[in-house]
């Protein structure tokens, strides 16, 4: 079977909404066998994980001015990421934005790299996801699939 894409779910499962990237990735894994899915705590490992993959979708919690649960899709191959929204939380030494830009500088970006972020708010240790963020998981998983399939519309 041809693997269509690699999906990386990022986040700390013990820090509230930060777990959302992992939950989205798990739902994609449960629904689609032709997508390879991994979960990571540390964004700096994403660089190693995507290796030579052609199409990669990273799902993660994002903090901007939106409402909790809002979904944002960004084509990282097409534009520079601003650290603010995709910065690290907690123990991550290197935020996702830094990892993506490092890969860009080293010429190690996959051909297609898409980020599906879920607006998050609560990052307390030992808490579960907030209701609004948990409710957004199915729509975010659908956005991941759409991102994989919509090749050609990225540009």
């Amino acid at each position: 079977m041809r693997v269509r894409a690699l999906v990386i779910g990022l986040g700390n499962p013990e820090r509230g909404d930060d777990a959302v990237g992992r939950h989205v990735a798990r739902l994609v894994a449960a629904q689609h066998v032709d997508v390879r899915v991994i979960e990571l705590d540390d964004p700096s490992e994403a660089l190693e994980a995507w290796g030579t993959a052609d199409t990669v979708v990273v799902t993660d919690a994002v903090t901007s001015d939106g409402d909790p649960g809002e979904i944002r899709v960004v084509d990282a191959t097409a534009r520079t990421l601003l650290a603010g929204s995709w910065a690290s939380r907690g123990t991550h030494a290197f935020g996702l934005a830094a990892v993506v830009e490092l890969a860009r500088a080293l010429g190690q970006l996959p051909r297609r790299l898409l980020l599906v972020g879920v607006e998050a708010k609560r990052f307390d240790h030992g808490t579960s996801m907030s209701d609004a963020v948990a409710a957004a998981v199915p729509a975010a998983a659908a956005a991941v699939l759409a991102a994989i399939e919509n090749e050609g519309e990225d540009a």
């Binding site: 990571l40 190693e48 830094a98 490092l102 010429g107």
Partner: protein
Amino acid sequence: MTHKLTQGDQVLHVDTLARVEGEGAMHVVVSDGLVTDVELRIFEPPRFFEAFLRGRAWTEPPDITARICGICPVAYQMSSCLAIEEACGVTIPDELRLLRRLLYCGEWIESHALHVYLLHAPDFLGYPGAIEMAAERGDLVERGLRLKKAGNALMTVVGGRSVHPINVRVGGFYRLPTRHELNGLRPALERALEDAVETVRLVAGFDFPDMRQPHEYVALRSDHGYPLESGSVVTSTGRAFGVADLATHVVEEHVARSNALHARLDGVTPYVVGPLARYTLNHDRLSPLAQEAARDAGLGVECRNPFQSIVVRAVELVDATVEALRIIEGWDGASAPSVDVPPRAGVGHGATEAPRGLLYHRYELAEDGTILDAKIVPPTSQNQPSIEADLRAFVQERLDLPRDELIRQCEQAIRNYDPCISCATHFLDLTVEER
């Protein structure tokens, strides 16, 4: 970086201090040309790990405390295992101690490679950060990532995964790595050794501002080589005591501005743990290759300049890689992945050398193994008073610098200590206030 000028007073403000683990702030007060105060403020809500360990089973701390830090989870696992095993009166067999040491080497390689190449080298080479450095010196960033990857691979084989290992338990491991798996690590580790030696050569050539720490150095010392997974406590003034006596020597005080507790030795002396202390107190325990690298880099038998901590980290990268290869070479298997650690009422202490310095745990257990009390003293909270004292002297000598440059140099100076604020709660915003 933003600058705000308020009425009368001058306040310089840095939004975030990049390339330090976590989030926090540094505040410098200058009155009539004299630095009157330097504070490191720590923002993140206090961690309640010590509180929520109470009532849990004696088998749980390795997994629970590993979550305190994504960069040094092995340190938390190792210190907690030692403490609980001591409370239960169990000593693990030497082959399992060696396997712990091997896992710990992976964490050191991972952590030091990250700090040296991605967080600290850009300061010395004049880049704002690793991304800008990657554009012109991609070779260096790639070497750092290659080293980190070798550490990750070692953690994955021995620990089950590269972050927050799942294979560690009180009494040993859940599963032993196979000979085949360990041999599979050798090519990457041999390459890592070459990379580590190159790293020492690279960082030895950096320019280091003059600075000398006057503080007492504290580290473990062990008969098993450079200290990682075991040892008793020694200090640069000649004190020596067992880990069980740490609690009586280290006094922690709560400081209003910070969520981290500040530790002092016997309640008075600021002291330093970490690479400089380890090196100064254990130089003779390094492998011959690491000693040679240190000598070639111009290090003497002690190193007290915090700016040269990057050189010591690089030497420790060499040592950790040599150690990992040595342990794999001599690995003869173990009769079982773990030994039984039946609970009993008692108190146990454990200390190991996290990449950032000595990490101490103490647990009090009930007869059935329920945790009655837990205490965790991470490296950064031990170093905080000495960091503040160092920065006070550092800023005083540089008050005539342009503000941007002063702030840049302060940031670099703070990174010397590789503060893991996630462990000591979180770090850094910088303000310089003139009154």
